[in-house]
């Protein structure tokens, strides 16, 4: 049990900067998810915490102790790798025992720990097998077991589920959540899958190009994305972005784009007033666009042409053409029959609209 602190952590591979100025304080027993597109430096950050990668600048502390110069074995951490990294030449039991034997734990204690972990993960019948005789899901369970038996201060996960098929992945996600309740160790979980990050993480760190974009709870990131990148990365289907212009005429603040001109109301108007005359990017999630939004007096209504619709069974996704952009709408009744080319009346609530600076992408507000 320990807190992990990263202060101004950076990593360069020669001229390549993989991570820059990473600041994060992870509380004891907190589960933090590190998410971002491929190559953004998630693994590098994790490996610096693990001690597998030298830290170019900054400080990493685990449990109040600076660990920059400690080898991995002295940091009291455990790590799960994307490809499991089980010792191929040892049985599952020896895989689990390896770390404990290295620490000179008495054999009776080792046996007890293995039994406890194996029971928790349901891998008791597999203990005498070798890793190559296991399925991917079983191997991942063993890899988890190897971490559990050690009772480390911190768990590190590097995309542990990405080698599994979709169904198994969602099942293991649930199992991880269950496991978490019983073993509430401080954890850092790297993934490129925002759904995994949202469901598992108590706090999420979104990274891009080696830079932290935003840190916050899943709901924070969803409701108040700090910039256009986070807004587009979190949530599925991805947020719609429409280039628009703010205009102020007397008391009214208008947001206008090709085929659309909306009068904004009090709160949103107040925040946008100072950007009058500027180009902005308007963002709205597909879930927040409604068809024929009946009721709700403050809904903003507008017209768009249906371009294509996708039937998902439980719902439909619509692509509506609005001037030069396609607006995606989700959550449409699957039974509704809409011909391509139909003129739709769409509606959205002002509080569900996001505005970003057209150049920097930072959220306005």
């Amino acid at each position: 049990m320990a807190e992990v602190v990263l202060k101004g952590v950076g990593k360069c591979y020669g001229p390549v900067v993989a991570v820059r100025d990473f600041n994060l304080a992870i509380a004891d027993q907190e589960f933090v998810a590190l998410v971002g597109p491929s190559g953004c430096g998630k693994s590098t950050t994790l490996r610096m915490v693990a001690g597998l990668e030298e830290i170019t600048s900054g400080v990493v502390a685990i449990g109040g102790r600076v660990v920059n110069d400690l080898p991995p074995k002295d940091r009291d951490i455990a790590m799960v790798f994307q490809n499991y990294a089980l010792y191929q030449h040892m049985s599952v039991r020896d895989n689990l025992a390896f770390g404990l034997r290295n620490r000179k734990v008495p054999e009776s204690e080792i046996a007890a720990q293995i039994l406890r972990a194996a029971k928790m993960l349901g891998i008791e019948p597999l203990l005498e097998r070798h890793p190559r005789q296991l399925s991917g899901g079983q191997q991942q369970r063993v890899a988890l077991g190897r971490c559990l038996v050690r009772n480390p201060k911190v768990f590190l996960f590097d995309e542990p589920l990405s080698n599994l098929d979709a169904q198994l992945r969602s099942q293991m996600r649930l199992e991880l959540k269950e496991l978490r309740k019983r073993v509430p160790t401080t954890s850092i979980y790297v993934t490129h899958d925002q759904v995994e990050a949202m469901t598992l993480g108590e706090r999420i760190v979104v990274m891009k190009d080696g830079l932290v974009q935003q840190v916050g709870s899943p709901l924070d990131l969803y409701r108040r994305p700090a910039n256009r990148f986070v807004a587009g990365f979190i949530g599925s289907p991805a947020m719609n972005f429409i280039d628009a212009r703010v205009a102020a005429a007397g008391d009214d603040v208008m947001i206008a784009t090709e085929g659309l001109s909306l009068r904004l109301t009090d709160k949103v108007a107040a925040t946008l007033r100072k950007h009058a005359g500027n180009a902005v990017v308007m963002g709205v999630r597909p879930q927040h666009v409604m068809l024929d939004g009946a009721g709700g007096g403050n809904l903003l209504r507008f017209q768009a042409t249906l371009s294509t619709s996708e039937q998902l069974g439980d719902q439909q996704l619509l692509d509506a053409r609005l001037g030069g952009t396609l607006l995606r709408v989700s959550g449409i009744d699957a039974a509704l029959k809409l011909a391509d080319g139909t003129m739709l009346t769409l509606a959205m609530a002002p509080e569900n609209m996001h505005f970003f600076d057209a150049v920097s992408g930072a959220a306005l507000g």
Binding site: A50, G51, L52, P71, P72, K73, R75, I77, A78, M79, F81, Q82, N83, A85, L86, Y87, Q88, H89, S91, F98, G99, N102, R103, H130, R146, R150
Partner: protein, 285 residues
């Protein structure tokens, strides 16, 4: 037409093989295989026959019915022959052990580490590899003389080990490239030092490749002639050299040479078969 009404018949066979009776293809390939096997076995067969013929019969192996084991006894009775067997065996084994000890670490370094030292080492063995084998011999002759190890175990062992390191480090690097390094990372986190991760995780995973390499290395040294001829003399007789001495100014003693060659085959076979079996079984459960 519904799927149920489709008849499942194999498509008609076309082309050359269609002309054969059913099963004829199998017979054809069996004959072909036997033919090719015979092609490879023929020289060995000839060797066996030659070794069993009296001296007068070696040029008429295919005729005559006189067979004898006397050649084997005579070959073994040659001065130096037993010592040559022993020396060859000892040098092959020592060269294998020593060179693999170095190759394993050097291959691992080339595979896992970047920096000036691995780069320099890589360049050195690359350049040395490019030098034609035969051009090593004369310098080595002078060097071993200078060092006073000419015609000793060391005088043959060190050159062999050097050559093996140059050639096999590359292959060894390939083996380690094929092993996922995250296994070693896991070991580091599980409490191993860098050396510990190498010895306890990377090395055991490389054992199948390592075995093949060891066998290759041993056979290579066992069969090697040029270094043995140039770097040894009477004090340290080597099997290949002794065997070659059956060709001399008075003629060629093919019968003795064949008998010796066949006897030389035995240790080689034992090393190959048992080496492989033992190590692979030790690895698999």
């Amino acid at each position: 037409m519904t799927a149920a009404s489709l008849e499942l018949v194999p498509p008609p066979r076309k082309g050359f093989f269609a002309a054969l009776a059913p099963g004829g293809v199998k017979v054809l390939f069996a004959l072909l295989a036997v033919g090719i096997a015979f092609l490879f076995a023929f020289p060995v067969l000839w060797l066996v026959l030659t070794s069993l013929r009296p001296p007068s019969g070696v040029y008429f192996v295919h005729r005559g019915t006189e067979f004898t084991f006397h050649n084997y006894a005579e070959a073994l009775a040659q001065p130096n022959m037993l010592r040559a067997f022993f020396n060859s065996f000892a040098i092959s084994t020592l060269a294998t052990v020593l060179s693999l000890g170095v190759t394993v670490t050097s291959g691992y370094m080339l595979s896992r580490f970047r920096g000036p030292v691995p780069n320099a080492w890589f360049s050195v063995i690359y350049v040395l590899r490019c030098v034609p084998y035969i051009s090593w011999v004369l310098p080595l002759f002078f060097v071993t003389r200078q060092m006073g190890i000419f015609d000793t175990y060391w005088g043959l062992l060190l050159p062999h080990v050097a050559v093996h390191i140059c050639f096999f480090s590359w292959i060894m690097k390939g083996f380690f490239d094929g092993i996922d390094p995250s296994m070693e990372y896991a070991a580091l986190i599980d409490g191993c030092t860098r050396w510990g991760a190498f010895f306890r995780v990377a090395l055991p995973s490389a054992v199948p490749g390592l075995t093949a390499l060891a066998i290759l290395c041993w056979l290579y040294t066992w069969n090697e002639f040029l270094f043995a001829l140039m770097l040894t003399s009477h004090k340290t007789p080597i099997l290949t050299v002794v065997m070659a001495q059956f060709v001399h100014e008075l003629g060629m003693e093919w019968h003795l040479m064949s008998a010796t060659a066949l006897m030389a085959l035995v240790p080689a076979l034992i090393v190959t078969v048992f080496g492989q079996k033992y190590v692979i079984r030790g690895l698999r459960v």
